[in-house]
Point group: C2
Chain length 309, copies 2
């Protein structure tokens, strides 16, 4: 089951050069995980030909307006679309305020709205545990309480080598299922066949890391470790390194160093300062360190593919 | 000085068919008055080639999200654009909450942000008194505390007929100015010349009425009286009259009756239900009552012209 990452907004602070405020969709098996929700995200989900009704969970990095001011409108619209599935919004402590704004009445929404508020001092925390994947939060280093997220598919069992199993004497159809489920079986002639003999190695799942807004930091490296795709804050180029430090952001090259250190496979730069009409310079600066870097383009579909074993 | 009305969002409740959430700009002499501010309004102002920096005052009709969820983002962006002019936001009691959202820190904005909160029970009230025009609020009839607004240019003095003044013996250059300012003058031969003899009648200013969301009501008629342009709630067509009553909205034909009763000159229908992909039917229903009706199109520029005397 393959997933796709769709940047919906790659601007920092305010819309500029046709770029929109922060939001990124992860689309997988007809379900949508939403990372950040800047103003206008409900429009951008439609622009991306995704369905707002399929949103499964929302993960907000921090409470600066450009990352969360689209929440009240999105929640209202989900209510008007008669959503009935419960919805959880994960984010830093204070996120609950977005359910209490005049014009949004959680008690009148047709679905249960809950907030998972991550407090200051929170360390690594699993914020979604689905049968097929998990999402983990870790604190980042920004001017305000901020969390990054790591989406990780659970490993899938290895393939059963049915031919080899038959050669070892396995005959009963249910024994093939047992072997695949990790049980040893006994053949009619009394031989024991173990899964290790006939089932290939577990296949690791794909990993996506969403690391913004932040200075490069060890928790960012943890989030991105061996990730197939990392979306990272690259607000500035090298000549504005001091500004990155001052505002709690990263340069494109810092993002590249982090991706390299984390052993990631593909780096998507995002959260571009309005001073860059063309983001090619950021991409080039990052590529000198980490060649598989792309400046994220809005509404492009970036496949989240499992790393080759 | 002529003004222009630019609908930025004509959808009701949620975006649909390429239509956006409620907002309308009045552009006059390089200044922008903003009526309602649904999510995404900061984008729509740019789409309309208007300048966010030129916003003079914001008037919010009511605190349903589709009319005000764009406020926090717009205020943030004005701060990032280094606005220093004070800004007042007018709206119903409760509007102050939009200055207290996490992610928006009024104390860190580079401009003074104030709210003029109109309480329940408020009657007619002048909410902007500029040298060239006024804006007046009146309560409407919706499901929540709602105000409509009337923009009215102040009358300009009539033209001086200089030729006729000279014929009556006026010679001193300063006497022409006095006559125009409403003073009588004495000519060298001792004759008194009065303004009434040489100055034409005062020219009335143009009037725009913004009447949404509401059932047709007497206060709506007052707002629209002899208006040159009325933007009115036309959420539904005739076949959904019961739904209009239930939700506190108007049908297109009800808007037309109100425009007719008010002696208005041009009616713009807006706030269309998502059930109407094509709004022609609403326009047609209204025109049977009030022929000078237009279904508002977003980003069109509708001239606000002074009624011929």
């Amino acid at each position: 089951m393959s997933a796709t990452i769709i940047p919906l907004g790659t601007a920092s602070a305010m819309p500029a050069h046709g770029r929109h405020l922060s939001a990124t969709a992860l689309w997988r098996a007809g379900r949508l995980l939403l990372f950040d929700c800047g103003e206008g995200t409900q429009y951008r989900i439609k622009d991306a030909d995704l369905k707002r009704s399929r949103i499964d969970r929302v993960f907000i990095t921090h409470l600066h307006g450009d990352h969360c001011f689209g929440l009240p409108g999105l929640l209202s619209t989900l209510g008007m679309l008669q959503r009935t599935d419960p919805l959880m919004v994960v984010g830093p402590e204070g996120i609950q305020a977005f359910g209490q704004l005049p014009g949004l009445h959680p008690e009148s929404l047709p679905f249960e709205l809950t907030f998972l508020a991550l407090p200051a001092g929170a360390g690594r925390q699993v914020v979604l545990d689905d049968p097929a994947y998990t999402v983990t939060a870790r604190p980042l280093e920004h001017r305000t309480l901020t969390f990054g997220y790591r989406f990780e598919e659970k490993p899938t069992p290895g393939a059963l080598d049915a031919e080899r199993a038959r050669a070892l004497g396995v005959k009963a159809p249910e024994d093939f299922g047992r072997l695949k489920d990790g049980e040893a079986v006994t053949t009619p002639d009394g031989t024991t066949v173990t899964p290790a003999q006939v089932v290939g190695p577990e296949q690791p799942g794909a990993v996506f890391a969403y690391v913004t807004d932040t200075r490069p930091c060890p928790e960012g490296v943890h989030l991105a470790t061996k990730a197939d795709l990392v979306l990272h804050d690259a607000t500035f180029g090298m000549t504005h390194h001091a500004r990155a430090v001052e505002t709690g952001h990263s340069t494109a090259r810092e993002a590249a160093r982090l991706a390299q250190r984390a052993g990631a496979r593909h780096l998507l730069l995002s959260h571009f300062s309005a001073r860059y009409e063309d983001t090619t310079v950021l991409e080039q600066e990052a590529r000198t360190v980490f060649s598989n870097t792309t400046a994220a383009e809005e509404l492009q579909r970036y496949p989240l593919e499992r790393r080759a074993p």
